[in-house]
């Protein structure tokens, strides 16, 4: 402190070594803090010290079909899965055309926007991906294409987790780019698949989001889709597709029977 | 330490004080660059004034993928008069919205047939500063020609690339000099005082109507 000079300090009698040490530590907070710190570090050694904890990825949550789950601002109830080569067959007001070289994989679901603002495209179109399927087209509508003179251009196939889908409103089959707050829709998540060779079971990975500010402009949004759940459900042809398949197999059976009949007559 | 031979505060901080002024100026200048970036160049701020009947020249440097080019156009306002509704592609006159009228702006334009001019814009300004632009989409697509100041059948090149220049040649080059009427839709009580013509803001021609 200012105003105190060496001359003001009174001469003190010499202390013992131990009392000097105690006085030294009690008089100065810094060494005491350091000693405390060393003690704390020493105490952590049996538990592995201050090393970075190993990041253990929690197992994927097993989700149930027919139960509502929350993904960021979106509530999603997956109902069932089916496939169809021409989902809007015979309808006059068509949004979806017959697949060339494949089929549409459709996940029926109910979606709700629970927050005060809209569920953006970045959430709605990244909440699920298919697993262990293979032969997926890049998007719902980029199947093979056929030109007027019959030339087929193959569509691009991608790894399962890159296959994107379209969310179509069941009421009018028109795609939803985003959904407004408070809104509820019955929808179909439509994927494109090359060929009609489907397994009996479909596994989906679901993704959750983090509400955080952008590091560029500070605007808040749901970002960083991260896989957090898994749902498995039976995969069947749609009702219309099943009828189509049944008719085709009946035709094949009739044809086989005719062939057999002819064969028999020829050998009689 | 004694106070007598110690330099004063001002002396000790001499350099700081000297540098403070340019630092302030620099900070203000840096902050004001946004005025140039977002405001000055985005709107009409540099008029070149003239009157009806007198030629006015607008020169600018523009950027195309092939580089920077200079172009120059000489515009003479010949008159502003009540106009007829322009014809649609089917040959019928366009419906005139209720509460509006057509004004015809007669321009004489002189420019190098090789320079792209179709980006030009024409507007009318009245005594209160209200500005009615030529907007080809006002009455829906396809009712008005897309550019107000080039002939529809010989618009000249749309850019500086070899293909764009060649395309203009096959269509037939734009005349070096031509008269053109610009049909302008304005509100009933709009009286034009100035005709504006520009290629790239902030420079524009401001021609007073006699």
């Amino acid at each position: 402190m200012a105003g105190v000079s060496d001359a003001d300090v009174p001469q003190e009698p010499r202390d013992s070594w131990s009392s000097r040490l105690v006085k030294h530590f009690l008089g100065h907070p810094l060494p005491a803090v350091l000693v405390a710190l060393v003690c704390v570090i020493a105490a952590t050694i049996p538990f592995g010290g201050f090393a970075r904890a190993e990041v253990t990825k929690p197992g994927l949550k097993q989700l149930e079909v027919g139960v509502e789950h929350t993904f960021g601002p979106l509530k999603l109830t997956i109902i069932e899965a089916s496939w169809d080569t021409d989902p809007q067959h015979g309808q006059t007001d068509r949004q979806i055309y017959p697949s060339v070289g494949g089929a549409y994989l459709m996940v029926h679901a109910k979606i709700r926007a629970v927050g005060k603002s809209e569920v953006p495209f970045s959430v709605l179109n990244n909440v699920m991906r298919v697993q262990n399927l293979g032969s997926m087209f890049a998007t719902a509508y980029t199947h093979d294409s056929i030109s007027d003179d019959g030339e087929v251009t193959p569509g691009k196939t991608v790894p399962d987790e890159e296959a994107e889908y379209t969310v179509a409103n069941m009421a009018d089959a028109i795609s939803l780019p985003s959904i407004g707050p408070g809104m509820t829709y019955d929808v179909v998540f439509i994927f494109g698949h090359r060929g009609t060779d489907f397994p009996n079971e479909l596994t989906l990975h679901t993704y959750d989001f983090t509400w955080r500010a952008s590091s560029i402009d500070g605007s808040f949004d749901w970002r960083d889709p991260e896989v957090n759940g898994q749902v498995t459900m039976p995969l069947k042809p749609s009702k219309a597709q099943q009828q189509r398949l049944d008719r085709a197999s009946q035709r094949a059976a009739r044809k086989a029977a005719r062939e057999q009949h002819k064969h028999k007559r020829a050998h009689r | 330490m004694t106070a007598t031979n110690r330099p004063s505060w001002a002396q000790r901080n001499k350099w700081g004080l000297i540098l403070l002024l340019p630092a302030l100026v620099l900070a203000l200048a840096a902050a004001s660059s946004r005025v140039q970036l977002f405001w000055w160049g985005a709107d009409l701020h540099q008029p070149i004034s003239g009157t009806q009947g007198r030629p006015l020249v607008l020169t600018d440097t523009f950027h195309a993928p092939e580089g920077y080019f200079k172009r120059s156009v000489e515009v003479t306002l010949q008159g502003v008069s009540p106009g007829q509704a322009p014809l649609t592609s089917l040959g019928k006159p366009v419906d005139t919205p209720s509460g509006s009228k057509w004004v015809s702006v007669a321009l004489h334009i002189k420019a190098d047939p090789k320079s792209p001019l179709s980006v030009c814009q024409v507007a009318l300004r009245d005594g209160q500063g209200r500005q009615a632009d030529y907007d080809p989409t006002l009455l829906g697509m396809g009712t008005l020609r897309s550019s107000p100041c080039v002939p529809e059948d010989h618009p000249g090149p749309s850019g500086m690339s070899a293909e764009e220049q060649a395309e203009a040649e096959t269509e037939g080059p734009r005349p070096a000099e031509y008269d053109i009427d610009v049909p302008m839709l304005v509100a009933d009580r709009f009286e034009a005082k100035h005709v504006l013509f520009w290629l790239n803001p902030p420079k524009y021609l401001k021609i007073s109507v006699r």
Binding site: K116, S117, G180 | P97, R130, Q131, D135, L138, F190
Partner: protein, 193 residues
């Protein structure tokens, strides 16, 4: 060390405290981020003309139903389609009205440009009205007491003028709309109605 240095030090301390105090006072009087971004709101009713910086807007009719017939497509919904007919008259420049939002009493917002919604309003010249229409899909459960916000520029109503129009939506109105099978959306037209 003299008494004088002690006094100087005390003075420095007081001045430093005073400066910090003044700074604190100033910051508390400056507008915070939310206030400075706040638009300039002008309240109005249906069929009342409201100024919005680039012109004036007048909401004429509001109608609702369970499907929308538009020049683009027929859209059905389990929610409600609301069609708003309004007039915009530019005052100084050639422009249109590009932002329209329905806002619920609880703060939910449905923009005329989001999702499948449409705001059909092109430009007009100063003094000449343009008849515009917007179709906005909304959940029937949340719209009682909702109002409309109309602003000149799209997506950026900060700092800008906003017309706040009371839509007078009562439970009876919602019931009527739920029973109405179709609303129609036409494009915008120039000229006084």
């Amino acid at each position: 060390m003299s008494r004088r240095t002690l006094r100087t030090k005390a003075l420095t301390g007081v001045v430093a405290l005073a400066v910090v105090g003044i700074g604190q006072l100033l910051t508390s009087h400056l507008p915070d981020e939310l206030t400075e971004l706040r638009p300039f709101e002008a309240a109005g009713h249906i069929d009342e003309s409201v100024d919005v910086r680039t012109g004036s807007v007048r909401v004429q009719t509001v109608n609702g139903g369970t499907s929308l017939r538009s020049p683009i497509a027929a859209m059905r919904t389990s929610n409600l389609w609301v069609v708003i007919a309004y007039t915009f008259t530019p005052s100084q420049t050639t422009t249109g009205l590009f932002s329209i939002e329905m806002v619920a009493a609880n703060g939910m917002r449905w923009s005329g440009t989001a999702s499948r919604n449409q705001n059909l309003c092109t430009s007009s010249v100063p003094g000449l009205p343009i008849q515009c229409q917007a179709a906005i899909e909304v959940p029937a459960d949340y719209i009682i007491g909702a109002h409309l916000e109309l602003a000149p520029t799209a997506d950026l109503t900060q700092y800008d003028a906003v017309a706040v129009i009371d839509l007078e939506i009562t439970p009876d109105v919602v019931a009527d709309w739920k029973a109405n099978p179709e609303v129609t959306l036409q494009g915008s037209t120039l000229g006084a109605s």
